[in-house]
């Protein structure tokens, strides 16, 4: 579902120092994708998980989680709905 909002690709490279900045950069390129991940206040959507090098960002510093060169951020829907 998200790939369709990113021109069909499953990987995007951005230059950013934090997770939030990476999502800002993603939004510059793919705004319809970015708004599936954060609301208009910039809050991460509750049922979307962001794994920063394997650790979910909410166990780290959330959007302020620092990124290093070559850090991999994996975006996965969590369990929701009924």
């Amino acid at each position: 579902m998200l790939r369709g909002l990113a021109g069909g690709v499953s990987h995007v490279e951005v230059a950013a120092g934090t997770l939030g900045a990476a999502l800002d950069a993603l939004g510059e390129r793919y705004p319809a994708l970015e708004r599936r991940l954060r609301d208009e206040r910039g809050a991460l959507r509750r049922y979307v998980n962001f794994y920063v090098d394997g650790e979910e960002c909410r166990r780290l510093a959330g959007p302020a989680t620092p990124l290093q060169p070559h850090t991999e951020v994996v975006i996965i829907p969590s369990v929701a709905g009924g």
């Binding site: 579902m1 998200l2 793919y30 705004p31 319809a32 708004r35 599936r36 991940l37 609301d39 208009e40 206040r41 809050a43 959507r45 049922y47 979307v48 829907p77 969590s78 929701a80 709905g81």
Partner: protein, 360 residues
């Protein structure tokens, strides 16, 4: 003549088409597992434009449009409905589409309680700040389904005049294009308030309001408890519940062309949200609510422990008018003769949240 019936459910959108309103081709789901709470069909365009409010529990809300009767859908890159940064609010869902008398003007009512206006046919929307800045806003409380503006009624005679309704809060009206708003609930009961405070200026849990086919000042209202009409554009309300088996319910629908003809789907009470005796009955009045007739031919007579949500009943614009409703148990029913007889369009769908029909 062909009818398009759009069915929004808790888990996606279904479309049904029929030439005789008795046999239907049903297709779907589109937007699977998304909550489709509102559908709009803009008949002012050469090809009707469909709008749908799509709420994905993972990826949030958006509004999509279709100019090919639901074959394909699109949306802008940037969010079509978005709260300004200074409000500190975020869109939780769109509850209503409504069309003004000016071409390309579309309103949406949203959760949290707010109004947006489009001047480009419903592709993008601007925030109506006058309502958000209303001093009553901090006292509007969420109803059971959320804190939302669920009804928008642009006056077909004057683009500056719009009535809205919210749960809770009640009815508000503007006569200056949305800059200022006046609470408009005189005569509407609030059963959940203490004795002596049950007719407040605002705070009522209005469930739905409909406008008469011929006289826009004549309006009909299904309240949390109570059914009302207004003869003065919503300034004052009087009860029309006598003759109904119960005064609780959600939808209120006006006939598309016959003045004083309205439809409701009564439920026992706030604490018994089922049709009385489990009988599936639409009630029709042909005299602005002075009297009511239960319509049941073709509908389940026993064991219908379901309900009809506030936007899950509608009409088409044909003559005779078609009437449609969907249930929380996933059944959709149609009448091709103004409610006299009914036939099932679809069953075993997810909870039906809204239906909208049009002659295409």
């Amino acid at each position: 003549m062909e009818i398009l019936l759009a069915i929004g459910t808790r888990k996606g959108l279904w479309l049904a088409r029929s030439r005789d309103r008795r046999h239907w081709d049903v297709s779907g789901p589109q937007f699977p597992i998304a909550d489709v709470k509102a559908i709009g069909i803009d008949m002012r365009r050469e090809t009707p434009r469909l709008s749908a409010a799509v709420l994905n529990s993972h990826f949030g809300p958006t509004v999509v449009t279709s100019d090919d009767l639901g074959e394909t859908w699109s949306e802008p890159d940037d969010a079509p409905v978005s709260f300004p940064e200074d409000t500190g609010a975020a869109l939780e869902g769109v509850w209503q589409f409504a069309y003004g008398p000016e071409s390309d003007v579309v309103y949406v009512g949203v959760e949290p309680t707010a109004l947006f206006k489009s001047v480009d046919g419903g592709r993008t929307y601007e925030f109506v700040r006058g309502l958000w800045d209303h001093p009553h806003r901090e006292h509007w409380m969420p109803g059971g389904g959320g804190k939302a503006l669920h009804t928008v009624l642009p006056d077909p005679r004057d683009p500056a005049r719009v009535n809205v309704a919210m749960s809770t809060g009640g009815v508000y009206r503007t006569e200056d294009g949305g800059a200022s708003w006046t609470a408009s609930n005189s005569g509407i009961f609030a059963e959940f308030m203490p004795e002596g405070q049950q007719y407040p200026e605002y705070g009522q849990c209005v469930h739905k309001v409909a406008v008469d086919a011929a006289n826009p000042d004549r309006q009909y209202l299904q309240n949390h408890s109570g059914v009302y009409r207004s003869a003065d554009g919503g300034r004052n309300w009087e009860s029309i519940a006598e003759g109904l088996p119960a005064d609780f319910g959600f939808p209120m629908v006006a006939h598309p062309s016959r003045s004083e003809v309205i439809y409701s789907f009564p439920l026992e009470s706030s604490m018994m949200r089922f049709p009385p005796q489990g009988r599936c009955r639409v009630y029709r009045s042909e005299n602005a609510g002075n009297s009511w007739t239960g319509l049941s031919k073709g509908l389940p007579d026993v064991g219908f422990w379901s309900a009809v949500m506030r936007d899950a009943m509608c009409t088409d614009s044909a003559d005779p008018a078609g009437v449609y409703f969907g249930s929380r148990s996933g059944e959709v029913w149609a009448s091709a003769d103004e409610g006299d007889t009914w036939a099932q369009v679809a069953g075993h769908l997810p909870d039906v949240l809204c239906v909208r029909a049009a002659v295409i």
